[in-house]
Symmetry: C2
């Protein structure tokens, strides 16, 4: 089953996915606004249907497609690494707990709910279990039968995950918004869904009992995990989609097999220890901030100063460390890895794309502080925080992307000039290859052939190289721990963007809330994704 035109085969599935996604986002965003007569039951019904269909396709894939002879002739060694699949299982378990809480919450006022609200978490639990098993088993597959069906199925499942993600993000923002309006006693959303008789804020069905309160609290705290689960699953599905119909040389595995025993021996411990200290301090600052802000008294100022100071120190250190990592690479003699690698291309695109969210928030903050009139300590801290945020994202991205493109350790480039430009040409203009100056008439392997493993081992054990590798491992561990603490803070509800009044006064609450609620989920996803990328950097360097 050779394909004549791969892009044409992909076109259909992309069109399907775009249309379904737009329909879902229309309903989800329509449901989020006050006066619009789209009820959340509509959204739930759409999501439930999508999850059911996706689960059915997954079962078909597992039972029929994957069992056809010659269905999976190749497996992509880069796809679905163990930390991604492990993270998926972890977040999947948290999602299941969330579904339990959600079912419990909606069961508390069963009599005045429509059935779809209880059905939705149950179907979601089934979907999570089926999908997690599917991705655990098949993430590396390069499918070669049922090409069109598999592409459409994968894209549809991907779309389902993105729709779930959108719905969760919108739900969280609405929750945040209603919390804000409660806190400031202004009630910006007084008649939210007044027409929806089954809403929890209605009079007949209030969440009074202690159990119900616990369920509600619990499921709002478990949201971030479900969001991450959807995004993890999406990235793995995308790589599977890219791999449909892909031909790989069976012997061309070049996976970086790491000796697990030496995993934690090869650092100077400076990175992990400094990172752990920052992690613990950050956790303390976060708890302090949350307690101070939620109190009724006017201690927000103090909490904000603490929060910003910690962030400035942390971001400054991370910027410096990323920079020094890039400097180390300037002296590194390892060859660049030019192999085609959909996983890595996606990783780079996601890192660059997700950073845009935090960039946007920072630029809006900078404009508000610089143009706005009051210039006090908090404004200065806010400005420094925004500037450092931009610098940190930039330099960390440069470091991670360069790390991911380095070849496996121990390889030194050959004496001949690098052949990267020749690679851009594909076979069809091989005749013209002789006209190019730098390319040898007979193309060879770019990565040095492992003909002389003895030499490679010597290089690995050479002291200078070892010193550099240790530094890089320290750097990646330090950045990893810092990214975790910077993920925890916004994911679990720290919103200095609203406690701080500069931007709210400058842009008005609704505009600023829209900016933050659209951009912050990307910023949170960036942290998560940076952690998984840094783990890869740590293992590879």
């Amino acid at each position: 089953p050779r394909e004549v035109w791969k892009k044409g085969g992909r076109l259909l599935s992309v069109l399907l996915s775009v249309n379904v996604l737009l329909l879902a986002s229309t309903l989800v965003s329509g449901g989020a606004f006050n006066k619009v007569a789209v009820y959340d039951t509509d959204v739930f019904a759409l999501l439930t249907t999508m999850m059911l269909l996706a689960a059915l396709w997954i079962l078909f894939y597992l039972l029929r497609t994957a069992r056809r002879p010659g269905a999976v002739p190749y497996r992509d060694a880069h796809a679905g690494p163990i930390w991604l699949r492990g993270g998926l299982v972890l977040f999947g378990i948290c999602s299941l707990v969330m579904d339990v809480f959600k079912t419990g919450y909606y069961s508390s006022f069963l009599e005045c709910q429509s059935a779809i609200k209880i059905l939705h978490p149950l179907i979601q639990a089934v979907f999570v279990i089926v999908q997690t098993y599917f991705l655990w088993v098949s993430a590396k597959d390069c499918v070669h039968v049922h090409l069109d069906l598999t592409r459409c199925g994968l894209m549809f499942t991907l779309t389902t995950n993105l729709a779930i993600w959108m719905a969760a993000v919108v739900d969280e923002s609405v929750h945040q918004g209603s919390a804000h309006s409660n806190a400031s006693h202004t009630r910006l959303l007084p008649d939210r869904r007044a027409g929806d008789s089954g809403d929890s804020s209605g009079d007949a069905c209030s969440c009074d009992t202690a159990v119900c309160q616990i369920f509600q609290q619990g499921y709002f705290y478990l949201y971030p995990f479900n969001i991450e689960y959807s995004l993890f699953a999406s990235t793995m599905l995308y790589v599977m989609w890219k791999n449909v119909g892909r031909l790989l040389a069976a012997t061309h595995g070049h996976s970086h097999t790491v000796s697990r025993a030496s995993l934690f021996r090869e650092t100077y411990f400076a990175g992990p220890i400094l990172g752990l200290i920052l992690f613990v301090v950050g956790l303390a600052v976060f708890i302090f901030y949350e307690v101070q802000v939620s109190e009724e008294g006017g201690r927000t100022q103090q909490a904000l100063v603490t929060y910003y100071s910690f962030n400035i120190v942390c971001l400054g250190l991370m910027t410096l460390v990323s920079l020094s990592g890039s400097v180390i690479y300037r002296f590194d003699r390892r060859a660049m890895d030019h192999h085609k690698n959909p996983t890595r291309t996606l990783d780079v695109a996601l890192l660059m794309g997700a950073a845009l969210g935090q960039y946007a928030i920072s630029y809006y903050s900078i404009v508000a502080v610089v143009v706005g009139t009051p210039r006090d300590l908090l404004g200065a801290l806010n400005l420094a925080h925004a500037l450092l945020m931009i610098a940190q994202h930039t330099f960390q991205n440069v470091f991670i992307i360069e790390s991911l493109h380095r070849g496996p350790p121990g390889e030194v480039p050959q004496e001949s000039p690098p052949k990267e430009p020749c690679q851009g040409l594909t076979f069809d203009n091989l005749d013209a290859l002789h006209t190019l100056p730098a390319c040898p008439p007979t193309p060879r392997l770019v990565t040095p052939s492992p003909a002389d493993p003895q030499a490679a081992v010597t290089v690995i054990l050479a002291p200078r190289d070892h010193w550099r590798r240790r530094c890089l491992k320290d750097i990646s561990l330090f950045l990893l721990l810092c990214n975790i603490i910077l993920w925890i803070m916004p994911a679990f509800g720290a919103r200095p963007h609203f406690s701080n009044t500069v931007e709210v006064d400058f842009y008005g609450y609704s505009l600023w809330a829209a900016i933050v609620n659209v951009c912050l989920p990307f910023g949170i996803f960036y942290r998560m994704h940076a952690v998984s990328s840094l783990l890869e950097v740590y293992v590879l360097s």
Copy 2:
């Protein structure tokens, strides 16, 4: 000057561009909102600075970089085709006229304006002239000196064009919004920029004279051309950026040289004639609609019915014609063209991406009509219009993308199975190639070598093939003319989205205005881009 790692070289320029673009979009969007204290002078100052810097870099490129020995060893035959450059010059001239009008408009109340408002159109005129000359001369260059500087310069110029585009779109929406608030006498934006003493709506500086009124009207009608100019320039700059440091075989030109004499002979005239009829009728409908809507009486209903009916007929015909084009391709034996071609990749991405704008508007309309209560004639027309819009975009994209990927006419695929999958492998795993079943040990040209031009000519003149080519040319001309009329309507101010009250009532004015004003510019750009792609399809088929 061979690059070790091309992606790394691109990273810097992308980061620069992203940061500048975000800063610009923050200021532009901030300036568009009511209560925000960002004045349009700030935006003008930023844009003027950016245009000056970009013009300086262009001059440096033309005078220094391009004159270095060996600076441009290769030229990309696909980049900057004549219709793109011709369109650029055309829109550039319209932009210059717009700048004259703008200067005249602001000169009318010189005494109470800040100098930047008059400086801005003047600098813009200089920038347009310099950039148009630069793109006309160098659009095909594959630069090989000053790699980093050229990449950053190109990205910066691209960012400048995008910023100008954003500012123009925002300005147009604000103008639209104020027109709406004037028309409905509700004045949604009563105190817009009350703090800006130099604003045209201020008391001291009203635009009373007839000349000033003409200038103002004129420059609002010339906006669409300036918007298109910026987008055309952006796509050409992007292709140049992709081509920096690219190696091409000097002999590997395979440009489709067309005999210009036979350009218009090879159609059945059915397509162009039907297209012209639709074009003229559409123009009449457009003028009728504009006249009826702008009148004070309640004739909006009649105008809307006419407008929607014409659009439904036009879109329906386009859908059918695109579909039949795709059907013809199912019987076509021309080989797929698998050469690497940044221009085509960008074209496809832009077609797919820009269609999202119209998709989104259509889905929001569908939800509003289906969920909303009043079901009358207008609602049904609106629903049909939205559904056909989605179908038309989808099938037209499929047709255009397939057309762009066909090889030059007269080529028939070889008897051997297509070798596309082998192409995905690059040189570095050539050793493993022998393990693949379908690839011959010695890779050959995929496109048949022009060793036998006599045979190719025979195929071209064969009656059955000729019949298919004629049909395809008819189809592309018909679609081209339809896209032009569908471009003219929204670009010159037809807004049935607001005349029609269904969506405004359902979503509320501000939300619906935000949706339309964000998405419609993409829809308009899609029409423009489809026209240029269809012209290419016409020439190639």
